[in-house]
């Protein structure tokens, strides 16, 4: 037989090709098996299902031990797409009360990788969240008809009282940002939103546990890994005792019906917030369960901004409630003493400038000035301080001293309350004015309105209430906070430490006396409560957007203050119209648990009067 030896050499080409491929595969195997730990981890995470055991969330009680927020079970309908067989969709929809269109939409959303990036037909997917217990019961009975579906128990919040939504907060599902910020969270977890739920989330949420299960490719559980030896038990969240008095909160909210504004009451000795009302508010139960999304949208679109906590986030001109701070600064700086008098000719008239005032005796010293809320007195004091170059060198330097005193009293910066979204208000500094008017081109008269809490000054109702508490304590305060106790641990140290403003405490006694006089024979006579010595200060804040805001701050009893309060009613007119009655009713309710018969008319008036707010208010 003829043999072509040239062609026979080609066996080397073919065998060589094979050997090269085998070598490449060998190198690839080396790379996969010996060079890369990633695959080992992937195999483990495939095979071991770390099933999350959700802890029960901490409960919330009010200061008197009333249960306010508790847990209720909810049920998510889950499915593993691979295991789902054709089923009676109509029956399914009727069982859990949804329309076939909604079901189709849910299926489409579940499969849409943009909406649900973790979609896989092999792993459990959440189809419908938060079934009611009734729907759950019905579905549970029929579940055998829907292969591939199962139900996962979750925890929802429930509220005993339709009150304090702004303080309590609610639960929402975590979003991508939460997951990136805190690795504790996994998609589908809940987290606190707003209020204490949000700020005390780490205490309330507890610690998730894990059950390690062996899982096959279809997500079917094949058993516990090594009999559960590596499982971690869930740790329940800590219960929280709020400093709120839920009855007082409800009462104050009822007084604020039909008005926009805020009521803040603080126990001066502890800094504990007794009530923190923003109006209008909403029933916290609106943000529970499946209707949450829809209701949240409704609240967001409401132009009265019910989700906006005016008590912490609203920055308002403090008006005359600011005057005590001025008195304190002037006394501390030696601009005045308690007997210094200033004239008031129906106002402060200086350098072609006139700040109006109402009729009262003139000239007058500090305490009567507080009693009658004399604008001129504080304008004079302010002028004498800011323009005293002999002492401070320049108006700008004097203004910085003035400003620093206010900062120490809690103005201009967030107080640090244990609730989210606190506004810092606004306190201008010298630089602000130098930029606006030019260096050295401004003096006390240029900015005189800040002396009476107008102009650039903005404060939150919480800051005003805190001033009231500081005066009640005669010179110190504790950062206001809404949580009194946390189970098995202590509240953060900042809520137990006294803070001392840069004003000597004896000056506070004089201011307190002035505020007491305002109740006994001044602007807040209506604040007087039979049998209780009340001190108070009205505020009527001018407002470029409409009618004046009505404000009040006060504390009682005068000698041993148990409650300090601030009230702010948007466009409520004079402070005495809404601020004084509401503030004094809140104090009376808290101190005596009732309203004196002589003041019932005032309560009825407050409960039934609404302030008219023009629709489409030109709020900025």
């Amino acid at each position: 037989m003829r043999k072509d030896y040239n062609l026979e050499k080609r066996k080397y080409v073919i065998a060589g090709f094979l050997v090269v491929i085998a070598l490449i595969y060998g190198i690839r195997l080396f790379d996969l098996q010996l060079n890369d730990e990633r695959y080992k981890k992937s195999a483990d995470s495939n095979a071991f299902l770390k099933k999350t055991v959700y802890p029960s969330r901490g409960l919330m009680y009010d200061r008197n031990g009333e249960l306010v927020v508790y847990n209720q079970p909810a049920y998510d309908v889950m499915l593993i797409p691979r295991d789902v067989q054709p089923f009676d969709t109509l029956d399914f929809c009727e069982t859990i009360h949804i329309t076939p269109e909604q079901l189709n939409k849910r299926f489409a959303d579940m499969r849409d990788k943009r909406i649900n990036p973790g979609y896989s037909s092999y792993t459990p997917q959440r189809l419908i969240t938060q079934l009611s217990s009734q729907d759950y019961g019905r579905l549970q009975e029929k579940l055998y008809r829907f292969p591939g579906f199962f139900i996962q128990k979750r925890i929802l919040r429930q509220y005993n009282y339709a009150t304090a939504a702004n303080v309590l907060g609610n639960l929402r599902e975590v979003n991508q940002r939460d997951i990136e910020k805190d690795e504790y969270y996994a998609p589908g977890d809940y987290t606190g939103d707003l209020g204490v739920e949000s700020s005390y989330e780490p205490y309330l949420r507890g610690v998730k546990g894990t059950e390690i299960l062996i899982r096959d490719a279809r997500g079917r559980i094949q058993g516990r890994y090594e009999g559960g030896r590596h499982d971690v038990e869930a740790i329940s969240g800590r219960d929280i005792k709020l400093s709120l008095d839920v009855k007082l909160q409800q009462y104050a909210e009822s007084l604020m019906v039909g008005k926009r504004g805020a009521v803040v009451a603080i126990e001066p000795k502890t800094g504990e917030i007794l009530c923190l009302v923003t109006a209008p508010s909403y029933d916290p139960r609106l943000l529970v369960g499946r209707p949450r999304g829809q209701n949240y949208k409704m609240l967001t679109n409401d132009e009265s901004l019910p989700l906006f906590d005016r008590a912490l986030g609203g920055a308002y001109p403090p008006g005359s409630t600011f005057k005590p701070t001025q008195g304190l600064i002037f006394l501390q700086e030696g601009i005045i003493n308690t007997s210094t008098t200033y004239p008031c000719y129906h106002g402060y008239i200086n350098g072609g400038l006139r700040v109006g005032c109402h009729a009262h005796g003139s000239p007058l010293p500090l305490k009567p000035a507080l009693q009658t809320s004399c604008n001129a007195y504080f304008c004079w004091g302010f002028k004498n301080m800011i323009d005293r170059r002999s002492k401070y060198g320049s108006s700008a330097k004097a203004f910085e001293v003035w400003k620093n005193h206010l900062v120490s009293m809690g103005y201009g910066y967030a107080l640090g309350v244990d609730l989210p979204h606190e506004s810092r208000g606004f306190l201008p500094n010298a630089k602000f004015y130098s930029k606006f008017y030019g260096e050295g081109h401004w003096s006390a008269n240029t900015v005189i309105s800040v002396a009476i809490g107008q102009g650039e000054i903005l404060a939150t109702p919480l800051q005003i209430a805190n001033l009231s508490a500081t005066i009640a304590n005669r010179g110190w305060f504790i950062t206001p906070h809404a949580v009194k106790e946390i189970a098995d641990t202590v509240i953060p140290a900042e809520y137990t430490e006294k803070r001392f403003p840069t004003i000597d405490s004896h000056w506070y006694a004089d201011i307190a006396e002035g505020m007491r006089m305002a109740v006994t024979g001044g602007t807040c006579r209506r604040a007087a409560i039979p049998g209780i010595d009340v001190a108070g200060k009205t505020g009527t804040a001018q407002n470029p957007h409409g009618k004046d805001h009505s404000a009040f701050m006060g504390f009682a009893p005068y000698d041993d203050p148990k409650i300090a309060v601030a009230v702010y009613v948007e466009n409520g007119g004079f402070g005495a119209v809404f601020g004084v009655p509401i503030g004094s009713l809140v104090m009376e309710k808290y101190l005596t648990d009732s309203i004196a018969p002589s003041r019932k008319y005032m309560e009825d008036q407050m409960l039934n009067t609404s302030v008219f707010y023009a629709p489409k208010s030109k709020r900025k």
Binding site: M1, I14, L18, R28, Q33, N46, Q222
Partner: protein
């Protein structure tokens, strides 16, 4: 001095290549063990239970050995004599199969014979090999003698491909393309294999590197153009054996590339990049044509044709790629690492890579693989059996299996080359070609280097058709080989 021609005498077993038989036995035993591991369930099942895949496979192996034994008893000349009838019979079977078969996952390739389901496509392998061997063993047949010989050989290869494609079994059909190795061994120009390889390279590079731009054209296409230039220079050298012409080409291509880079880069002139490159190649082509005519060197037209065909192919790749089925496109893109679709088309490959990768050096141990035990890899007892070995027996086990294949195929090539007759040699090369194809594609897809083409790993994957098909293929070879002394 006539050798004993009584083929029924037991002496045939003296000449059987026992090494190959031992490799074969090692493979099927390792296969059945792997199948047991791959299909092992948590409720302790027996390896030998006929309800299990492993038990069924043992039955297939037993019957397969019996089949092999009978093949060894047949006179080898039966295969020679009846090669065409067997081939034609098998073609007829392939033609009727789609009409008789039930639809299983879109493919109509399974015939039910009593209790068994068989895939004629697997059995057509040996028939095609016999027919090809028969063709080449014709009196004084040389492939390159006449063009008609190519037509005949191609017809034998392509007919089964067409009929198997009609059954929607793309993977099985592609295996027949491996027979081009046989044509190469029998004299087909290496240029064709080279062209096929280069076509694959062009395809991969053109489809894969489309993002980064270079000289205003995708970097993949740029790289192909540079490759074309280098190949032109290399071919000119090989076919002309002078330094001058290739050197001129080198300077020309290098010069235009550098000039283009300078103009586009530092000077910031936006060139029509593709036009520039093609222009450069075309000038090179014209130069080679002039040289070819002037010096009477027709061979110089080869680099010209190569360059023009390559560029034409490159342009048609994107067009052709769009014509593929979406799931095929996706599989290709996933393998090329362009698409990352771990839950969809890439799921199998990714899970199989995880299974193999988690095996480490020595593996997790028999029956301890979590990936395979828990059914993360679909088709793990059939097409993806190799990942069970990779996971449970580790790198060492996987290398042993690759080594077994290398030994088997090289052994088959050695057998081929010792055949006194073209019939035996061509048949043996057909066997080697099938094994090379299945080995390369199956293991390649399991470790994520090739597209997922559903073909089994011979002797390892679960399935009677594949096992019997390859057993028949191998034992006919052993029978023919055992008779090599007949005319020696």
């Amino acid at each position: 001095m006539l050798p004993n021609q009584n083929e029924s005498s037991p002496s045939v077993f003296r000449y059987v290549d026992w090494t190959t038989v031992v490799i074969y036995l090692l493979m099927v035993i390792a296969g059945v063990v792997s199948i047991y591991a791959a299909s092992y369930d948590f409720d302790e099942a027996s390896m030998f239970s006929f309800d299990e895949f492993s038990g069924k496979q043992i039955r297939w192996i037993g019957l397969g050995l019996l089949l092999g034994f009978f093949i060894l008893l047949i006179d080898w000349r039966v295969f020679d004599t009846y090669a065409y009838p067997i081939y034609i019979g098998m073609l007829l079977l392939l033609i009727v199969t789609p009409f008789l078969a039930h639809d299983i996952k879109g493919s109509r390739s399974w015939l039910t014979v009593g209790p068994m389901s068989l895939q004629p496509a697997e059995f057509a392998k040996f028939a095609t090999a016999l027919a090809l061997a028969k063709l080449f063993s014709g009196y004084n047949f040389t492939l390159n003698a006449k063009a008609i010989n190519y037509v005949k050989a191609l017809a034998i290869i392509i007919l089964p491909i067409v009929f198997i494609l009609l059954q929607n079994e793309t993977g099985s059909a592609l295996a027949y393309l491996a027979l081009f190795f046989v044509l190469y061994r029998e004299g087909m120009s290496g240029l064709i294999l080279f062209a096929a390889l280069f076509a694959v390279v062009i395809f991969v590079v053109a489809v894969k590197f489309t993002d980064i731009m270079f000289l205003g054209i995708p970097s993949g296409e740029f790289a192909i153009m540079v490759m074309v230039m280098l190949i032109m220079i290399g071919m000119t050298f090989i076919y002309y054996r002078t330094l001058e012409t290739p050197r001129n080409l080198l300077f020309w291509f290098g010069g235009t590339l550098i000039l283009g880079w300078l103009l586009a880069g530092p000077c910031g002139i936006a060139l029509p990049g593709m036009g520039w490159m093609i222009g450069s190649v075309c000038v090179g082509c014209v130069y080679l044509c002039i040289e070819a005519l002037k010096r009477h060197r027709k061979a110089l037209f080869i680099p010209v044709a190569t360059a023009l065909l390559s560029i034409g192919f490159m342009f048609s790749v994107n067009f052709a790629f769009q014509k593929l089925q979406p799931h095929q496109q996706l599989r290709i893109l996933v393998v090329l690492g362009i698409e990352e679709d771990l839950r969809g088309a890439g799921y199998n490959v990714n899970q199989s890579k995880i299974a193999i990768g988690s095996g480490g050096l020595t593996g997790k141990g028999f029956l301890n693989g979590t990936q395979t035990k828990l059914k993360y890899v679909p088709e793990q007892h059939t097409d993806f059996i190799f990942c069970t070995i990779g996971e449970e027996e580790g790198f060492l086990g996987a290398i042993v299996v690759i080594g077994l294949y290398l030994a088997l195929i090289i052994k088959v090539i050695a057998i081929a080359e010792r055949q006194p007759r073209p019939f035996g040699r061509v048949y043996a090369y057909c066997v080697a070609s099938y094994f090379i194809f299945h080995f390369c594609i199956n293991i390649g897809m399991v470790i994520g280097l090739c597209p997922v083409i559903g073909i089994p790993l011979p002797f390892f994957s679960y399935g009677g058709s594949s096992l019997w098909g390859f057993t028949i293929l191998l034992f006919i070879l052993l029978r023919i080989d055992a008779a090599r002394k007949a005319y020696a």
